[in-house]
């Protein structure tokens, strides 16, 4: 039977890792990494799991070792945060192009400078085009649930791509909150055994991993990779449906909160979605027709599904917790507005940048944003299409 407990987001992910008992975990064991490798190594030291822990000298090495281990046929994961992910950059692309279904527990923290350790999505968003699947969490529960779904998605033969399970640094990673934990046996059964179709330590079926490819074939490899990401869409939905059927929780690409009749919708990711939902309840009590879409899956990007979910509203606030310096909105804003255009959904959009480097995001800010959207639609107020909220006056 599932049990009610309380723990931090880091503990929740470490707990899921213990239940999954993966084969190998290479990780850089100190800052900028998180408590996750430390907690997993405690499980290993206590004999709770048989995972081989490889302490490495850098995140570049952590991802290199993870690729090697996964190539050998072992179910592999690593964990990092912030500049640790940045140092993995080169290897992230290699993991994806070699079609290694390894998992990475990412605790989203900002990249310097100014030197800062707090939450935003600049690390994960910086890696959005590396070919990894990316799933974001609102709270410790979702970080746990998403991690349990990681391998069934990544290892599916239709996909074979690495997967990043993300949660907000400190805000959920270090906050103790209530959680429902599933039985070890149920989690093990859900995740299943890993039987790679092809792997290096298989003399019966030799394969090359990471070979040189001239321009005569390299482009086809990229095309196949893009097709795998396309396939990931159906697999993510299948796994989410199976998870919901078995454990009674979760969403497919996104959660739609009170959006059915909403005139104004906020699209947002991560822990701030909870704050936005509280604000929606407060505003609904005043008769305002507002709602929230919490985007769970950023890669692959569910553009058509989002456009369909937004097509009946009057205006949408698109919330980015990172800056992309394209001068017209963050990554979510750029991709979502493109998706709306493609789907010929002609609604007002305002792209907001919020919460950078740990700047707090409050219920009152959500009220202001919904009021502004209403002002745009009802009174024709002219606003910048891309603006910051929560800046010092």
């Amino acid at each position: 039977m599932a049990k009610k407990d309380r723990m931090s987001g880091n503990e929740a992910v470490a707990y899921a890792i213990r239940q999954i008992n993966p084969d190998v975990m290479p990780a850089f064991p100190i800052t900028p990494s998180t408590e996750i490798p430390q907690m997993v190594s405690t499980y290993i030291a206590n004999g709770d799991i048989e995972t081989e822990f490889i302490p490495v000298e850098s995140e570049h090495s952590a991802m290199s070792a993870a690729i090697g281990s996964e190539a050998a046929g072992a179910r592999t994961l690593t964990a990092t945060s912030s500049c640790g992910l940045a140092l993995m950059w080169e290897e992230l692309l290699i993991a994806a192009s070699n079609r290694m279904p390894l998992a990475l527990a990412l605790v989203n923290r900002t990249l310097s400078g100014p030197i800062n350790i707090n939450c935003d999505h600049s690390d994960g968003m910086g890696a959005r085009d590396t070919g990894w699947i990316q799933i974001y969490a609102e709270n410790n529960q979702e970080a746990y649930d998403n991690f349990i779904q990681a391998y069934p998605i990544a290892e599916d033969p239709r996909v074979h791509l690495p997967i990043m399970i993300c949660q907000d640094g400190f805000i959920t990673s270090h906050a103790v909150e209530n959680i429902t934990l599933e039985e070890d046996a149920d989690v093990k059964e859900f995740v299943g055994e890993y039987h790679p179709e092809e792997f290096l330590l298989n003399p019966g079926k030799p394969v090359a991993v990471g070979p040189y490819s001239l321009s005569c074939y390299a482009m086809e490899a990229r095309y196949n990779q893009a097709q795998a990401m396309e396939n990931a869409k159906e697999v993510i939905v299948e796994v989410a449906q199976k998870f919901k059927k078995q454990f009674g929780r979760g969403f497919e690409f996104f959660e739609e909160y009170k959006t059915e009749d909403a005139d104004y919708i906020m699209v947002i990711m991560g822990s701030a979605a909870g704050t936005a939902k509280q604000a929606v309840d407060d505003l609904r009590a005043q008769g305002k027709k507002v709602g929230v879409i919490k985007l769970r899956v950023f890669r692959p990007f569910p553009a058509e599904e989002l456009a369909a979910a937004l097509k009946n509203c009057k205006a949408v606030a698109i919330m980015d917790r990172t800056e992309s310096y394209n001068t017209h909105g963050g990554p979510l804003a750029a991709e979502l507005t493109a998706g709306l255009y493609r789907a010929k959904v002609w609604i007002e959009t305002v792209c907001y940048t919020y919460g950078l480097a740990g700047r707090d995001f409050m219920v009152e800010t959500v009220y202001d944003i919904f009021n502004e959207l209403e002002d745009v639609v009802e009174n024709g107020k002219k606003v910048e299409q891309h603006k910051y909220v929560g800046l010092r006056k």
Binding site: E138, F170, I171, E177, N178, T275, F361
Partner: protein, 200 residues
């Protein structure tokens, strides 16, 4: 109490255990069946720097993930913060503040920028030194937070803390008894003030 239930803000200095106290409070409040949040605000990670930690405790699911700006209760683990930090900022006048100091509430009030709510003082250093032989004020301040907020009955709190400490201090069980003593001494020390405030 706000719509999010009971909201508590802790002010301490790095190394004093304010964060640990907030996490322990979340831990014991969970045992009452409540929804809980306990989280620190991370700044520079250095001993002695002012730090803030927070608790939300509610009968309803807690979804807000921002810091707390209008707390029902403020706990000040280090008296010197009264001049360095605006500890009563946003504090409800129907709420309360608890300060770790040998001084009386009357002596502390002038330092609280006209705060009109209830003021309690606890000599956390003395209690800790008497009970534990060392100055770890977070156990007394945790007990004080429970005594003033009434988040759970004393007896249940004491029972749950025994279990919590047994888990937390599994590798140094010699400190459990002292910490338990500190909790009980704090309840006793606060009793007259709580009675006077109609909270006993």
């Amino acid at each position: 109490m706000s719509s999010s239930g009971l909201e508590i803000r802790w002010h301490g200095r790095g190394g004093q255990g304010a964060k640990t106290a907030a996490l322990l409070l979340a831990d014991v409040a969970f045992k009452t069946g409540a929804y809980v949040q306990g989280f620190p605000e991370y700044g520079p990670e250095r001993m002695g720097a002012p730090i803030t930690a927070f608790n939300r405790i509610s009968q309803n699911e807690i979804r807000v993930h921002s810091n707390i700006y209008n707390p029902d209760l403020v706990v000040v683990v280090d008296e010197t913060l009264l001049v360095a930090v605006d500890v009563t900022a946003g504090l409800s006048k129907d709420g309360a503040i608890i300060v770790n100091t040998p001084k009386s509430a009357e002596e502390i009030k002038p330092l609280l920028k006209g705060y009109e709510g209830k003021v309690f003082t606890v000599d956390g250093r003395k209690i800790s030194v008497d009970a534990l032989g060392k100055n770890f004020p977070n156990s007394p301040m945790l007990a004080a937070a429970v005594a003033v907020s009434k988040v759970m009955p004393k007896e249940q709190f004491i029972t749950e803390m025994q279990a919590s400490y047994a888990h937390k201090f599994a590798k140094k069980p010699e400190v459990i008894e002292g910490n338990m003593k500190a909790l009980n001494m704090t309840f006793d020390a606060l009793e007259p003030a709580l009675k006077a405030a109609g909270l006993a």
